[in-house]
Symmetry: C2
Subunit: 343 residues, 2 copies
């Protein structure tokens, strides 16, 4: 029952099937690449990590399958941190701990894996959240496309805050913390080689500090949502449906950078459908809108925050765009098939 194997070579340049099989190669990958990038383990490696008490816990998980792995403004590693930190933030929670699980295609260059994991570790450190546990699986060539990352976060809810899509109310102001369309067009342009990569950088970044800066608005922070997959159109429609309120968005107020407009024109995309990874919409009572905007603009992530519209009792569940020429049209929930693997 003995297995005499040669010592794995440290200079192996690509991920092997055995790196995911729970034996010595897995241990080596952990010791030489994953743990140095993600921070030293607090103790012996176990099947699960014990945490200090979390108060009001919030849980969120996301798988990241973005292609390519690297794009202007980020990579799958930083995105995997920001996406989950932001999902927690949208429920008014600060990130307390992350769990990270990798699915790697056999043959992925170890240098690429190291680059991604180092970026993930840096993004977690920047967001001040520890990676406390993880898993690594390797599948054969052709059974996955390079690398997928699933990040799960536990957050600690800020007690004063309880934003929810269901809490949007008629006569709320709809605020947007930054320009739209950057992440999706940055990824698509890189993937398709469209040449916009020099002009468009993903907005991928953590938003929990922006949310924390709004703590004093407490109950008035009705709804927060980051318009990722499906873009602003999906976020506004989900909120309209969950809350039973209508929404009106002013086309003239929408911050769409010029290169995003150009890329969307070329690709036949609506900027409202394009994923973002570093902005949020906030629904607050009209009377508080100015103060909330001021607070948003006081932190770097919200410095270009604007008001883009309002809710209404007039057409429950429906989102309308007030165009530059004064007409109204419906902003539909996107079907979604145009933009695979954007996050």
């Amino acid at each position: 029952m003995m297995n005499q194997c040669p010592t794995p070579r440290h200079e192996d340049e690509r991920v092997l099937l055995g790196h995911g099989a729970g034996g010595r190669l897995t241990a080596e990958l952990l010791d030489t690449l994953l743990l140095p990038a993600l921070g030293p383990p607090p103790g012996p490696l176990e099947d699960a990590a014990t945490l200090p008490p979390v108060g009001l816990p919030v849980l969120s998980t996301d798988s990241f399958v973005v292609s390519p792995l690297f794009f202007p403004g980020g990579d799958i590693g930083s995105l995997a941190v920001h996406g989950t930190v932001n999902d927690l933030a949208m429920r008014g929670a600060a990130p307390a701990a992350l769990a990270v699980s990798l699915i790697i295609e056999e043959g992925l260059p170890l240098a690429e894996l190291r680059s991604v994991v180092e970026s993930l570790g840096k993004a977690a450190a920047d967001a001040e959240v520890p990676v406390v546990t993880g898993d690594t699986k390797v599948v054969g060539r052709g059974a996955a496309d390079r690398l997928f990352i699933t990040t799960t976060g536990i957050g600690r809810r800020i007690p004063a805050l309880h934003p929810s899509a269901a809490r949007a109310r008629p006569h709320d102001a709809i605020l947007l913390s930054g320009p739209i369309g950057l992440h999706g067009t940055a990824v698509l342009s890189t993937r398709e080689g469209l040449g916009f990569e020099a002009d468009i950088t993903s907005d991928s970044r953590p938003l929990h500090r922006l949310v924390a800066a709004l703590t004093r608005f407490a109950d008035d922070l009705h709804t927060l949502r980051d318009p990722t997959r499906g873009g602003l159109a999906a976020a506004l429609n989900e909120i309209a449906e969950a809350s039973g309120t209508g929404a009106e968005v002013d086309e003239a107020a929408l911050p769409v950078p010029g290169p995003v407009t150009a890329a969307c024109d070329l690709l036949g995309l609506d900027p409202l459908h394009v994923a973002n990874e570093g902005c949020l919409v906030a629904y607050v009572p009209e009377a508080q809108a100015g103060d909330v905007l001021d607070s948003m603009r006081g932190v770097p992530e919200g410095e270009s925050a604007v008001r883009i519209g309002r809710t209404t009792a007039a057409h429950p569940g429906r989102v309308e765009l007030r165009t530059r020429v004064g007409s109204h049209r419906v902003i539909d929930m996107p079907l979604g098939e145009q933009l695979p693997r954007i996050c």
Copy 2:
């Protein structure tokens, strides 16, 4: 900025790219397939789920990439619950909530997805743990092999228990809750069409009730580990390394079912290296071994629990097998490349 699309057909038989893009198709997949299988959502769908306070939280994550998706005794859905529930249990925790993230290959039959997700939902219900949040991504044909599932669990640690690989001590008895080798050989036999499928059924099952049944042993429950990837050999070596104790295992005491021995002979595998998904090893003081075995045998998951060996101060960090003929040989950490995609 409007997108007029045809209403997606409910009778679509395969997963489409758009099912993972965050738009109407994603919402439809959630409403018609995922949420009915996993239980009704407690409220509107949000980016993250709020949880009741968890006391002493434990966090664990695992990606499941088993191939094939269905095997005797389970499927990727039930396995994804049991694997994570068991990782929590090995730290003395009862499962409190699960987060489930799917990565689906475009073209997967919806019937297969439904079958897996229903099995996952049933396994979670059987383990009495709610699935509180999730994510779904779809990648193009050839970019993943059918379906991968990442399950993350939050557990509530039983206050009396704090088992850890580092807490094994010389003169502990090593107990094993059930036969070894069933899961790995069941999956391999199915994948390779070896014909053992009629005789071998995976041991995949939740172990948190077995652990709860040992609560009264408190501090004496030094170490728990479920020997999954890398099998019993990896588990014993990890514990030996983390605790600095040696271990001796009696070959004659190892419960290896006949069909497992036959399958391993055919495949050139060591049963000690084959993954299990429904048994655990427990390290307890010699004086407690009989009582702990009695308690294990009192629950169905532990009814065939046996004592397989002991720890020793004689060879710190090394695991030895005492063979039937009385000789000793080292049980090495498996290298691991023989058994990809077993869980």
